[in-house]
């Protein structure tokens, strides 16, 4: 029996988008080995909500913690649960919280670590992970060695799996065993709210991203209109976030979010490699840039050479018109 566990982070009483995606992924992998998906639930509301992971694909759920403490504080119950259940893999979201917990599993168990993965395959009971490595310049495939313990730790980027739709049923919920962990001493001493709720880039089908070329907040207001016309949200390069035009939560790239929308519009963004690694998985890339030699032209599907200030408002109007027609 090869169960596959996944980290299920709860936000405000409901499973996060990553929990739903990973539930679907874990269910798919577990089915291949005749096991079930096991949700490792934490965060506010995880206790009451864990059963609902059943509809998302989980056969069982274990509650690691239900309060708003930093995610890393569930390290004790997490490590103890994984030791006890010894699933074939633990899928973790490739977010800061997910990586912190994945890393603690790796250090505590001496586990094989993979990811963020493009795909996982089960071949004759052996896990094989395909990854995009070295800034996307190589695709590599790796597997656990014979020295590795039973459980592999796998980071999964947002958008790798689609949440199950119309699922039903409830997962059997149990409390986690626990062990002492130094992470229990980590606490939040202050929270600085800077912005109202920000649309989650990882969930967006359409992202209109702006860079230094957008020039300021007024330029970003134009991008907001374009994004609204396309039913999408606004993202940004680091240069735009550094300039203070948008909050860092909207930064895409190596040190920002990694996104996988159906449409990515890069407006006034040159296409530096650190930006590219955050958006290269987008299905369609449209770039608007006045420099015909901008590197973004090397990996866009449609490259529009021109002035964004002239093109963007006209594009917004045309799309609105077309949608109205």
């Amino acid at each position: 029996m090869a169960d596959v566990a996944f980290l299920a982070e709860f936000v405000d009483g409901a499973p996060s988008r990553s929990a739903l995606e990973l539930a679907a992924g874990a269910a798919e992998l577990a089915a291949a080995g005749g096991g079930v998906a096991v949700g490792l639930a934490y965060g506010p509301g995880a206790g009451e909500g864990a059963g609902a992971l059943g509809a998302a694909g989980a056969g069982r759920a274990v509650v690691l913690g239900s309060d708003a403490a930093p995610a890393v504080t569930v390290a004790g119950p997490l490590v103890a649960s994984v030791r006890e259940a010894a699933p074939q893999a633990v899928l973790a979201p490739a977010t800061p919280n997910g990586r912190d917990l994945a890393a603690i599993l790796v250090g505590s168990l001496g586990a094989a670590a993979f990811g963020p993965i493009r795909a996982v395959r089960m071949e004759g009971g052996q896990i094989r992970c395909e990854m995009s490595t070295l800034q996307g310049s190589v695709i590599t495939v790796s597997e656990p060695t014979s020295e590795a313990p039973a459980t592999a730790v796998i980071l999964v980027s947002a958008g790798t799996y689609a949440p199950r739709e119309g699922g039903s049923g409830s997962a059997a919920v149990s409390a986690a065993p626990t062990e002492d962990s130094p992470q229990s001493s980590v606490r939040v001493v202050e929270t600085q709210a800077e912005t109202a709720a920000i649309a989650a880039l990882e969930e967006a089908d359409v992202i209109v991203a702006g860079g230094r070329g957008v020039g300021g907040e007024a330029g970003f207001a134009e991008l907001e209109k374009l994004a609204a016309a396309l039913g999408g949200v606004v993202g940004a390069s680091r240069a735009a976030a550094d300039a203070g035009w948008v909050p860092y939560q909207l930064q895409i790239g190596q040190t920002g979010k990694v996104v996988k929308p159906a449409l990515y519009m890069a407006v006034g963004i040159s296409g530096a490699i650190q930006h590219r690694v955050g958006m290269q998985a987008a299905e369609h890339v449209v770039a608007i840039n006045r420099d015909p030699d901008a590197p973004i032209g090397e990996f866009a599907d449609l490259f529009v050479v021109g002035d964004l200030f002239e093109i963007v408002p006209r594009l917004t109007a045309q799309i609105e018109q077309r949608r109205g027609a």
């Binding site: 586990a111 190589v138 992470q183 490259f303």
Partner: protein, 259 residues
Amino acid sequence: MKIAVCVKQVPATTAEKRYTPDLRLDRTATEAIVNPLDEYAIEQALRLKEAGQADEIVFLSMGPEGAAEAVRRALAMGGDAGVLVTDPALAGADEWVTAKVLAAALDKLAPEVSLMGMASDDARGSLVPGAVAAVRGLPLLAYGSELRLTDGAAQVRRLNPTGFDILEAPLPVVASVTDQVGEPRYASLKGIMAARRMELTTWSLADLGLEAAALTARSRMVEARPPATKPPAERITGVGADEAATRITDWLASRKLIA
């Protein structure tokens, strides 16, 4: 207050990268640099020293002998001492092996803060800081946009979905910082000359009381291939803004991207 900054040597960001036939990164083929995100960790440590909150900065790297160059480049920016852990048995080290080795070296250096970059360019995992924390049994304060030291505790300012949290843990801690800590300084010529003359400490696995046989990698690469190449972009160029907007709209509509 002692801060140990872990610096990794990686291939230059934009260099062409290759794997050797036995699927190891060909480190002879490319220019090597200090992992760019580690420069931010160096910068953070140096700022804390300048502010009088730390008095000793030590740089630690694990890698081939040539990685001494990365330690020297860090020292050229500032700091007090450099340590290189190098051993032939470490070729092919994975996250867990790296964490075990760095943890043993850090135990020996016994800093109040073991500081790392948020990710290494050639691994992308961001797993080493947390794995080191777990091996050493210390609290983890990762992804700081700033590291602060208070009496007996460390704090990091960390991005959350709507703002920032200030996370705190009692010293000693393992911490990592992001590229939001402030732009890394350039090494001065004087700094470069001084770093060249500095004596580095070199430790082997035996010096750390570790046995190679107990440090076998938990994962291995079985395949490396180039990504599928994308066809060149369609271009819209040399047309007026109205025409460009129409053609973009048509392009989007033909791909059903306008709902």
